[in-house]
Symmetry: C2
Subunit: 86 residues, 2 copies
């Protein structure tokens, strides 16, 4: 059996370096990193007293919120599509 | 004009307290917080040398990755649905 090809890339997020490994292509992985970096900088601008750890947790919270809402929308759209095909 | 009703709740994520404010209901906000907490603990278990800030950034990266992939799937499904309706 062949293993899925892994991509490994080095990215900077909020001034620190991370090595990301995944099955996605390089473009996608860099987009993920730069979107996290942008969100962290926006949260810092909104509240400059937050430390890096809290900024990162709030970035994760905002992203998880968006993900869970989109998952509900996706599931609802999928259900609607399947009903039409019956 | 009436403003959208804001929900305010206090949650614990990875041992620190956060006040979350949003337009979502309380159940959704607590689900978001507990899913972030679970993901941070999984990342810690996989690499116990990571500090909290790096664990939180990697949680944000994983969640952003899932979000951007789901967004592509959602947009593709929406396009397919709209084409059928033409």
């Amino acid at each position: 059996m062949s293993q899925p090809k892994k991509t490994r890339t080095s990215v900077d997020i909020y001034g620190r370096n991370y090595t990301l490994v995944g099955e996605e292509d390089l473009h996608h992985m860099r987009l993920v990193a730069s979107t996290v970096d942008d969100t962290m900088r926006e949260i810092y601008q909104a509240n400059k007293s937050l430390d890096t750890s809290r900024i990162a947790v709030l970035t994760a919270v905002n992203t998880m919120n968006d993900y869970l809402k989109l998952k509900e929308d996706y599931d609802a759209l999928l259900k609607k599509t399947e009903q039409k095909e019956d």
